[in-house]
């Protein structure tokens, strides 16, 4: 295996008395697509948010693309440019157009001129199939379109890793496909991706590895076929059975 681009070791996270992550190790290789599944409250979103330090791990280490994310000397805002994140509720800025959403960080963080940023922003919107929606505000877009703008906002910064936190959970079923399609394209372009989601079909087709988490720990992991068809742990089997019934 190539040198991992994401290396998290012994991650613990406490929220007050709640022990949400109980020592999680996660290594992700370049160009790998890792799927994280598990019941709600199992800590999968928290793990994802520890990787770009939206959540401060209580202990452990996180190295992304050679940068120690937890070192106080690390310029966290610079480091975060290399880690794109997509949220369940899109979190687009409602007071800006789609293009404004995509170009803000290009201008204010990456230091691009307005002209440069807009060229890059339009290219990113084109990649998600929304070149003709640049001037629309989020309120004028469907959920699926909003999520694709959110993906464009992240990839415009040319991240080394993309984190997806339940990217399709807030979408009407008929809009899920368009977002998964964009994620497939990203994968084919060689993007390293960590995806928290229950889209089993997508996981089967696209994932290199599926991780099952429960109660703040990784219970088991392996290729999608192994995890979905023939899980070795009873808890995994029970969970897979539950989500397949839906």
């Amino acid at each position: 295996m190539a040198r991992p681009i994401v290396e998290a070791r012994g991650i613990h996270k406490h929220f007050g008395a709640l022990h949400v992550l109980k020592g999680v190790d996660l290594e992700v290789a370049e160009r790998e697509l890792v799927f994280v599944i598990g019941p709600s409250g199992s800590g999968k979103s928290t793990l994802l948010r520890c990787l770009n330090r939206l959540e401060e791990p209580s202990s452990g280490s996180v190295v992304v693309d050679g940068i120690d994310m937890l070192d106080p000397k690390t310029d966290i805002n610079r480091a975060r440019q290399r880690i794109g994140m997509v949220f369940q509720s899109f979190n687009l800025y409602p007071h800006m157009t789609a293009l404004g959403n995509v170009t803000l960080a290009l201008r204010k963080v990456a230091g691009k001129s307005r002209v440069e940023a807009e060229a890059l922003g339009r290219a990113a919107l084109k990649r998600v199939g929304l070149a003709d929606r640049a001037g629309h505000t989020p309120g004028q877009l469907s959920g699926g379109q909003q999520q694709r703008v959110a993906i464009a906002r992240a990839i415009a910064l040319e991240p080394r890793v993309m984190l997806f936190d339940e990217p399709t959970s807030a979408l009407d079923p008929e809009l899920v496909g368009s977002v998964l399609e964009v994620m497939c394209d990203l994968r084919e372009s060689g993007m390293t991706m960590i995806v928290v989601s229950h889209e089993m079909g997508f996981a089967r087709n696209a994932a290199d590895r599926v991780i099952f988490m429960d109660h703040g720990l990784i219970v088991e992991q392996g290729p999608p076929v192994a995890i979905f068809e023939n899980p070795s742990q009873e808890r995994t089997r029970a969970f897979i059975g539950q989500i397949q019934r839906h």
Partner: protein, 221 residues
């Protein structure tokens, strides 16, 4: 009746005095509203710092100046500061009093506005590498201000009305000028005239406020 309360001859005679007062009221408003907003912004931004060493003094500060009658504060500054060796004019005292008093009110309004912006907005901004201040300035504050615009405008209306307090410390604004004219003419006409002027400058703001409030109500439905 008209002879007493709106005497045309008296109006003609005192009109320049009232006009000078109007100019000062407008000037005073143009100074104290931005000052109050600045004070409010400072309060609201400090309120986002959850450290107890910031939190408790800030709460005490805001509570104190909201509980303190602005007229008393103004007189205290005007009459008290000279004894501390600080001889400030009436205008400066009004500016300071409004910075303290209306700053506390604007601060509470802006804080509510900031709280109304979903935390996911900040997370999205931070995840793209924007720092705290950038996230606040580009993402949170524009939405916060939009969400509490009717309250901000309503408070601004109150602030403009309160500039009449300046008359107590000899700032020659509308009310002060009217009382000068009244003592010169022994007629209530100047006061009535000034009341009308106040109404004419404030009424458009009241209309605008009503429209904003109705729109806010409609969008909440």
């Amino acid at each position: 009746m008209i002879e007493t309360f709106l005497n045309p001859e008296i109006i003609a005679a005192i009109w320049p005095i009232v006009l000078a007062g109007l100019a000062n009221t407008v000037l005073l408003s143009l100074i104290v509203v931005p000052l109050g907003l600045l004070g409010g912004l400072i309060v609201a931004l400090l309120a986002t710092v959850h450290h107890p060493l910031v939190r408790w003094p800030l709460m005490a500060w805001v509570d104190f100046f909201r509980a303190f009658p602005p007229l008393v504060l103004l007189v205290l500054l005007f009459a008290g500061l000279p004894f501390a060796g600080l001889e400030l004019g009436g205008f400066a005292c009004v500016a300071i009093a409004f910075f303290l008093n209306t700053g506390a009110y604007y601060g509470e309004i802006l804080r509510a506005g900031i709280d109304s912006v979903p935390v996911g907005q900040i997370e999205a901004a931070r995840s793209t590498g924007l720092n705290r201040l950038q996230a606040m300035g580009y993402i949170v504050l524009p939405q916060a201000v939009r969400n509490v615009l009717p309250d901000l405008l309503s408070n601004t209306l109150e602030v403009v009305k309160l500039t009449s307090l300046g008359s107590v410390v000899a700032v020659p604004e509308l009310l002060f000028q009217a009382r000068q004219a009244q003592s010169l003419t022994y007629s209530p006409t100047p006061i009535v005239l000034v009341a009308i002027v106040y109404f004419l400058i404030l009424w458009p703001m009241v209309r605008l406020l009503s429209r904003l409030e109705n729109r806010a109500l409609a969008s909440r439905r």
